[in-house]
Symmetry: C2
């Protein structure tokens, strides 16, 4: 069995389109994925936080991943989110991803119970890895304490790397804390532990210190510019490229980010249904949406070729 | 259609037994439920936080509820937990509970996204109620900010009661904050909104101010004594009964409560497999278990008739 390709660059946690009945729409998801892979995304991380993945049932997630692969998306460019609160759900989604040849999975810790021990979290990851039982499995640990509240610290990473050196492939660090990213890089990057930051704001710093890319919400709309920063980070232009992507992100972060991204896609795809979010999220109010689109237009923002 | 019976008194969020392979064991669950209903529990709230419900798949929860009812547990004495992160999961579990005649359901808000608006939470509850679409549905809102982080405040309760006055039946308040319980009681008890506290520590206070009972982790092991307090809360003995149940709870709360309760049941049922918990929890270490059992023995604690 050949080792799966290592992922690097800009990944989008792909938005999940819903119909007005709140059912997921696989066809529109495949279209967005194709567009993203052609416009700056090295790979895709469907079923992340930005994808409203935890607002989807396990059946829905399984069907959508099948639809992506049946729709021709290269599994070597996929890192689907598979970490759930319940062990059987995490095992089921992870096994499907490996069986279908995905390059890796992005794994949240079980996030309902708070203040759990590293022993308990280790047990959860280990039990999942053992039950999936496939040499091809590559796990990227998903550290996002602002949302999951349950984090993945360096002691746990060290223990997992010791137990499963081939399986534990890296981390998405969405702590928003560059010091935490540095701890992961200095501690583990030399062992082949690939660190992605969770925002392009930290992309240049991450690449300079040994990281491999970013998995970022705004990769859904601005991947080409972020990818240019990724490719040219050693050039004299790097700081300017970083500032440019920060400007776009700043405009989007003025409002709730997931509804904002869906409003942007709805506008540029000329497909209003894209704005639909599942509860507990709510769509942007019309005034907020118009202000956001105007801010982005003033920054020269565009999504060429998304329409149709 | 007759209105379902109103619930009051002591409810246990029933522990979920696992085999050593971590699979749920329906037969042992039915046995514990029968014992609890015969030893102080007015009703049962399976699939709560103490039940490790969010560590179970939706399929597992559905099968276990079917097993309880097929095993002869009276649905009029059941308030299963049904609130999940994903709307279709909440709808599916709630519809099953109503279809099978359960007296009510205990509903967590979707708990993955943090800092969500009351608009978004209202939308989640309303969409669930509309999709279930059954007059017999009675929803008890589950407010447990220390764990879920996402809470259910008075403005949201008021809005839900206005929109669904027959469906919204009450709350389990696990805030651990008696002031919050008072806000709910003074605001809504007169409209028939039944407030259960999430710990027997607050039972006497809750009953004195218009509440109807408690849904408490320790109801799994000490329901008879808590029920005596419930029945005799107007007697001169009430303060002493409150102190006695507080003493037992204090001994248990010295260690993580769910593993502690499972260790207690394992010991008194002479069934060591009961101690098994799913990740991310871990079982008590032997020394902690022995200390706990000794503390309880010193307080005269027993679970008569649980063995065999």
């Amino acid at each position: 069995m050949t080792a799966p390709p290592r992922l690097a660059g800009v990944l989008a946690p792909v938005l999940t389109p819903f119909g007005t009945d709140l059912a997921p729409d696989a066809a529109r998801l495949v279209r967005l994925c194709r567009w993203l892979l052609a416009h700056g995304c090295a790979a895709l991380a469907p079923f992340g936080t930005t994808s409203e993945a935890n607002s989807l049932s396990v059946d829905e997630r399984e069907r959508l991943l099948d639809a992506l692969l049946d729709g021709g998306i290269d599994p070597g460019r996929l890192m689907p989110g598979t970490g759930c609160c319940a062990l059987p759900d995490t095992v089921r989604l992870t096994a499907q991803a490996v069986r279908r040849g995905c390059a890796g999975v992005l794994m949240l810790p079980p996030f309902y119970y708070k203040g759990v021990s590293d022993d308990g979290l280790f047990r959860g990851f280990a039990e999942t890895i053992e039950r999936v039982g496939d040499d091809r499995l590559r796990v990227y640990l998903y550290h996002i304490p602002p949302v999951a509240q349950v984090g993945i610290g360096p002691a746990l990473v060290e223990r997992l790397l010791r137990a499963y050196p081939r399986v534990i492939a890296g981390m998405k660090d969405s702590s928003g804390d560059l010091e935490n990213t540095r701890t992961m890089l200095t501690g583990f990057a030399k062992q082949g532990f690939d660190v992605f930051v969770g925002s392009e704001k930290f992309l240049l710093a991450n690449l300079r210190e040994g990281g491999v890319g970013c998995i970022t919400a705004t990769g859904n709309v601005n991947a080409a510019a972020i990818d240019r920063l990724f490719r040219e980070w050693r050039s004299p232009e790097a700081e300017r490229l970083q500032e440019a992507v920060n400007g776009i992100r700043g405009a989007i972060e003025k409002v709730p980010v997931i509804p904002a991204l869906k409003a942007i896609v709805a506008h540029h795809a000329a497909d209003p249904a894209w704005a639909t979010v599942r509860p507990p999220l709510v769509a942007l109010a019309p005034a907020a949406r118009e202000a956001l689109l105007a801010d982005l237009a003033a920054l020269g923002f565009a999504m060429p070729g998304l329409r149709g």
